[in-house]
Every structure is written in C-alpha cells, then in structure tokens.
C-alpha cells in the first residue's frame, strides 16, 4: 500500500515536471513566421491585424490603430491568416512602407470619425486632435475605413472657405432664410448661409464663431453638424444709427416720416426701419441691426406719440414733417377727385391736399389734425399727407 502511495506520488511529480518541461522546451519547432500589421478590429476574444494585403486573426484583444509584430505558427485559410498554438505579439514602433498617408481635415459627427479630403474618409478610431484641424495621418485602409496609426501633423482649423472642407467662420447673424435653423451670417465681407442642426437658432445681431463644413454653390453655405461647434461671442457695440454698416448695431431716436409696406421711413437714416409698428409722426427709440438693405429692430419703442407733437401750422417750412391742427374754413373738390381744404388756426392757415386716393372727406367747420410734410400748391402753403390714417377729424 505504501509502495503504491509512493508510486502515485512519483507519478504526480513526474506529470508536473513533464508539464513544466513541455512549457520550458516550448514545443515542437514549427515554421515560425512573423507578421507585422495594424490592428483593425479588437474584440474581447480576438483581434484582426492587417498589413495592406493580408489579415491575421490573433486570439487576444489588442488596440486598434497600433502596429503589432506577431511571431508564431501562421496558417493561411480561406478567411485569411490564422495563428496556431504558441505565439508572441508585441506593439511595434516600426512604420512599414505599406502604410499610407492621408491629408485632410479631421471631422466627426454622431460618434463617427472622418478625414475630409474633401471626400469623406471614415476613420477606424478618433485622432485625438481638435475637430476641423488639418492633419496628415499615417495608417492603412481596411474595408471602408482608414485606420490611423500616427498623426504626423495637425494644424488649427482654417478660416479659408474651401468647398467641401471645414472652416472656422466668425460673423453676425443677420436673420434667417427659409427656416429658423437657417441663418444668414455676415462675416465682414460676404453673406454666409449657415445651416444649424434642427431645432437650433441664433438671435439676430449675435456675433458667433462657427466651425462648419463649407459648400460653395451660387452662394457660400456652411453646414454645422453639432451645435457645440457654434461659439457665441455676444452682441457688437452699438454705434450712432446714422453710422451703421452691414452687421453693426445702431442706436438713436428717430421720427417716423412715412409708413410703407417695406418698412418705416425715418429721419435718422436712409435705410428703412423694419420690425416695429409705428405711425407717421411717432418718435421712436431705436436699437436696430443693419442688414444691408434695411435696419431691423432689435429693440424699438415709441418714445413720443405723434399726438404729443406741437401744432406746426404757423411754422411753415417746405419739406419739413409736421403736425397741423385747425378748423376747416372751406373745402373745394375738383372734377378729377382732387380736393383742397383750408385749415386755419389763429392767423395761420395751410391748404390740406386731399387726393382721391386718400379716401378722406372733411367738412367745413370741423377741426382736423394731419401728419405730413409742408409743401406748396400754386405758390401757396400747403400740407401733404401720405395716407388716410394721417388725417383725422375732431380732437385727435
């Protein structure tokens, strides 16, 4: 029995030593080969290396985008090379000649990474440089993706507008076109048509710095993939309203001379004022953005209603805007529909022109108030209004 015990102990030791011997000797001499490749796929239980012509399946997780050297028994199968049995795999600092260079702008959206050349080349992993940077990358193309191994050069995003490439643009939001997320931006020299992600918008007059993709058609379009690529710089400092240029904000007090469908004609600027409701004769406090063709109100309010203007019937000065108030002495209507009404207040009088298009009738003896411009009629002082709303009878 003891002899058996000794035998079994010896056998167990022999088995252990034999196993150790197997490990130390490393097994049969096989046709050991080396393979240098870039890891293009890494899963929990395997990785795939690629050397521009062949793939090698390695049964362990590696890091995508790293060059590895594998030494072991490598066997070819229909699905590529596979490693069998004992092998060694180690990261390599080698840069094989088959690695390709890729130049372009680094870009990403929705968890996918690209280099825009300007063709979209999808990357197998992110580069770790600023979005929009111009990069020179060394790597290998596998399937539909490019697997970067090393970033050779990375420059800050460009401000040059090149078709299909990203650009960093700075400008003032002038307004929208078509939809709320489509913004017209003035960059100091031209209008850019910016497409923001759905559901996002910019307030008029806001200065922004945008990293977007440029597409040049008959105009320059800028596509923003991520709202985080829009940096708000604030509003520009306001200037006197008569000194504005495109993209600047003007402030001042203006008298409304005339109300037109295209905007208000005011006495403080040659541009029409839009984005506010007022009547001829109202005095406005204006803070408006110059959009090139007009001033668009950012903050406009009536500072003095026209009713508060003094009666200017005794202050005739041809071409001046004024409020006149007086009693109608007589009314004359010509056969072509044109009419005249003599408005008198004290020793002062003026002929109120009443074109048929106004659609206004006044009666003798009534008190009228009119808002308009002094003019002459056959050498006599007259007063001209632009719409029927600017003439009223009674205490108004």
């Amino acid at each position: 029995m003891n002899a058996d015990k000794k035998l079994y102990t010896v056998l167990a030791v022999v088995a252990l030593l034999s196993t150790a011997g197997l490990m130390i000797s490393g097994g049969p001499e096989t046709s050991s080969k080396s393979f240098i490749g870039v890891c293009v796929r890494a899963e929990k239980s395997y990785s795939i290396l690629f050397n521009s012509t062949h793939t090698l399946l390695v049964p362990k997780p590696l890091e995508v985008g790293v060059v590895y050297t594998v030494v072991g028994s490598i066997k070819g199968t229909k699905n590529g090379l596979k490693i069998r049995g004992r092998y060694s795999v180690s990261p390599s600092s080698l840069r094989p000649v088959w690695l390709e260079e890729l130049d372009g702008a680094y870009w990403f959206r929705e968890y996918r990474y690209y280099v825009l050349t300007p063709e979209w080349v999808e990357l197998g992993k992110p580069l770790g440089v600023q979005k929009g940077s111009f990069v020179e990358v060394l790597g290998v193309k596998y399937g539909s993706k490019f697997y970067p191994v090393e970033v050779l050069r990375a420059e800050s995003p460009s401000r040059t507008l090149r078709n299909g490439m990203p650009a960093l643009v700075t400008g003032t939001a002038l307004g929208t076109f078509g939809a709320k997320n489509r913004v017209v931006l003035w960059n100091g020299s031209e209008k850019l048509y910016v497409y923001l992600p759905h559901g996002h918008y910019l307030k008029r007059g806001l200065r922004v710095e945008i990293l977007g993709r440029v597409r040049v058609t008959s105009r320059v379009n800028v596509y923003v993939d991520d709202i985080n690529d829009v940096r708000k710089l604030g509003y520009p400092i306001a200037v006197p309203i008569n000194r504005t240029s495109i993209g600047t904000i003007g402030e001042g007090r203006c008298l409304v001379l005339r109300v037109m469908k295209s905007g208000l004609v005011v006495n403080c600027t040659n541009l029409k004022l839009r984005g506010v409701w007022a009547r001829a004769g109202d005095v406005l406090d204006v803070r408006a953005l110059n959009t090139g063709s007009s001033l668009v109100c950012l903050e406009c309010s009536v500072a003095l209603p026209r009713e508060a203007l003094p009666n200017g019937i005794c202050s005739f000065h041809e071409g001046d805007f004024s409020r006149v108030r007086g009693r109608v002495g007589w009314v004359k209507r010509y056969s072509n529909g044109f009419g005249l009404a003599n408005v008198t207040s004290g020793n002062c009088w003026v002929l109120l022109k009443l074109p048929k298009s106004l659609g206004v009738e006044v009666e003798e003896g009534t008190v009228v108030t009119a808002y308009g411009v002094f003019t002459t009629y056959r050498g006599k002082p007259a007063f001209q209004v632009n719409s029927g709303d600017d003439v009223c009878s009674g205490n108004c």
């Binding site: 252990l16 034999s18 196993t19 197997l22 490990m23 490393g26 699905n79």
Partner: protein, 371 residues
C-alpha cells in the same frame, strides 16, 4: 443534396469507426454544408464503437469510456451501442422543441457568462466528489496545468488529440491489458428500457444545448452534471451520447444564428463560406441522417464485434495503443507523444486514486478560467 448527405454519412462512418480520427480532421478539408453536416452528425452516432470496444475516446465521449468498458467486460457491449444509437436519435428529436428557446439564448451569451458557468461547474465537481477531494483537486490542477501549457504555450497541430487520448483513452487501454485476452462474449438479447432512456436523453439534450453555448464547456462536462442524476450506467450513457449529438446539432444552429464556431464542422463551414440552408432544411437533414446512422450502426455492430472477437483482445488493445501513439507521432512528432504520455500519467493517476475521471476536464476548464 441527398447525394451530398450520403457522402457525408460515409465520411462520418469512417471518422466515427476509426480510433483516433476526429471529425475535425476531415472537416478541415472543407466542402459544402450537406456533407460536412452529415459527416459531423454521423460521427456522433458511430464514435460509440471505438470508445466502447477499444477505449479510444474523443472530446465528446471521453467520460463514457469507463462505464461502457465495464459493460463490455460483462458482455453487454451491444447494449451500449444500442443505447448510444437510440439516445443519439432521441436527442435529434428533442432538439427540435428546444430550438425556439435556443434561438433566444444563443445571442445572449458572453465570455464572462461562460467563465461563470465553468467556475460553477469546477466548484461543483470538487464538492460532489465521492473519493478524496484533495486528490480530485490535485487531478484538476495537474490536468489544468497541462492544458494551459499545451493550449497557450505550444503550437501543436492536434493538441486535443494528445490530451484527450492521454487522459481518457490510454489509461483504460492499459487497465484492460490486465483483463481477459479475449473479448467476453457479448449478449445480443436485451430490451430497450424506454423509461430510462427517454428522460436521460431529454436531460442529455438539454445539457448538450448548454454545452454548445459555452466554449470549452464540452459534452463531457455536461455529462458530469448528468452523473448527478443517476448512478445507473445506462442512464449515464444515454445522457452522454445525447449530449454528444445535441451538442453538435446546437453548435450548428448556433453557427447559423450567430456565426460563432462551437465545433470543428462549424469552423469548416465558416472557413468555406458556404451558404447556410434554412432551419427547416437542417432539421429534415438531421432526421434523415440520424435515421440512416441508426440503421448503419445496427448493421455494423455484429460484423464489428465478429472481427473483434476473432482477434486476441489483449493484442488488439496493444495494437490500438501502438496505433494511437503512432497517430500522436504522426500529428506532432515526439513532442505530441510527450504530451500524450504526460496526459496518460494524469489520467492513470485519476483512475488509480479512485476519483471521478471528470476531474481531468480541468485540462480545459482551468485554461478557460485563467485566460
């Protein structure tokens, strides 16, 4: 397709009946779906012959050797063959209702789940050991160390051949050298105990399903669980052979569903890039192949035994040992033989220490856990 299935059955007959030749060896040659599938399935039916009468196992039948051999020595070898054929056939039928469940489970599998399952099984093996637990742990550690070295530190062409033949085959053959020089007369008259076969076959099919989900969770490991349900050799054998067949079939369905390769045939299919037929076609093919394999097995049994009984059993066992050693040398030279002999020492120890031979499955379990 029928012609291809028949070719597959012939190839499976060759791999199944020839000791030491695994289906994977031929599968590596590739081909279309039908012959590879038929070859693999037929192999699971017919590998009972060498494992029962010659004590030569493969990965799926290694644990069946001792009980089967015991029955052979008392003249019940034909019963073992029939149990194997019927339980394998039942397994093909029981696979069908389990498929919907399998199609839910297969995509959920993760390597971590596999490790947890194996760790649980290892713990379970030690706790339920009827012999010395210390010796069982020693066997697990020795076989685990061997597995770790062979699988991760050598570049053998057929590592599993050396390991399994050494752990499970050689010790049995060596033990049989001390028995009668002739094969005992085998009884031919016996009835099928359906009450025993059906439940154990169902259990085996379910365990085969689990083993096909987990890598390195072989049919043999599933069989260790089956041993908990019965000490009866016949029930155990029914479970083992059902596991063997269902493990193969589910492995093919797993490949069709997830692309994972859980057996050599699936690997060959994957490498060949062949078109996978629909689930219905696979099921019908399985039923056809299984039916033919049962008839073939029945037809082969008597001539097979006739040949064995005319030979000197002891001399034949020596010849088989020599053949297995020769194959080991053929596959991997002296180094393969070294692995075979080391594994044989561990298998012999497990046998002589009287611990459950399933502990030798540490050869796969420990490497899986460590990795």
């Amino acid at each position: 397709m029928l012609r291809e299935l028949l070719i597959g059955i012939l190839l499976g007959t060759f791999t199944g009946l020839t000791p030491g030749i695994h289906v994977n060896t031929l599968a590596e040659m590739g081909g279309s779906f039908a012959p590879l599938f038929a070859m693999g399935l037929t192999h699971t039916f017919l590998d009972v012959f060498p494992s029962t009468f010659l004590g030569v196992p493969d990965e799926g039948t290694s644990l069946s050797i001792l009980p089967a051999h015991r029955l052979v020595l008392v003249g019940k070898g034909i019963e073992v063959v029939r149990i194997a054929l019927i339980s394998s056939f039942l397994s093909v039928i029981f696979v069908i209702p389990l498929l919907p469940l399998y199609y839910l489970l297969a995509p959920v599998y993760s390597p971590t789940l596999g490790k947890i399952g194996v760790a649980f099984l290892l713990f379970f093996l030690i706790l339920t050991e009827r012999g010395s637990r210390l010796r069982a742990v020693l066997v697990i550690l020795l076989s685990g160390a061997l597995g770790w070295v062979v699988l991760f530190h050598t570049a053998l062409k057929e590592p599993f051949y050396h390991v399994f033949t050494g752990l499970f085959g050689i010790p049995v053959l060596l033990a049989s050298l001390g028995s009668s020089p002739t094969l005992p007369k085998q009884e031919t008259d016996w009835g099928v105990d359906w009450n025993l076969l059906v439940p154990f076959s169902m259990l085996g099919t379910a365990l085969g399903m689990v083993s096909s989900l987990l890598p390195a969770f072989t049919a043999s490991m599933g069989a260790t669980i089956a041993t908990l349900f019965s000490r009866d050799e016949r029930g155990f054998l029914a479970a083992v052979y059902s596991i063997n067949t269902s493990n193969f079939l589910f492995g093919i369905f797993n490949f069709c569903l997830t692309g994972r390769t859980r057996n050599g045939v699936a690997v060959a299919l994957n490498n060949s890039g062949v078109a996978i037929p629909s689930r219905g076609v696979v099921i019908l093919s399985a039923l056809l192949v299984a039916s033919l394999a049962v008839f073939e097995g029945e037809a082969i049994t008597k001539p097979y035994l006739k040949i064995l009984t005319t030979l000197n059993y002891r001399a034949m066992n020596v010849a088989v040992i020599a053949f297995l050693i020769g194959l080991s040398l053929y596959f991997d030279g002296p180094y393969g033989l070294w692995v075979l002999l080391t594994a044989a020492v561990i298998g012999y120890l497990a046998q002589e220490w009287g611990v459950r031979r399933t502990n030798c499955m540490g050869v796969l379990m420990l490497p899986l856990l460590i990795r």
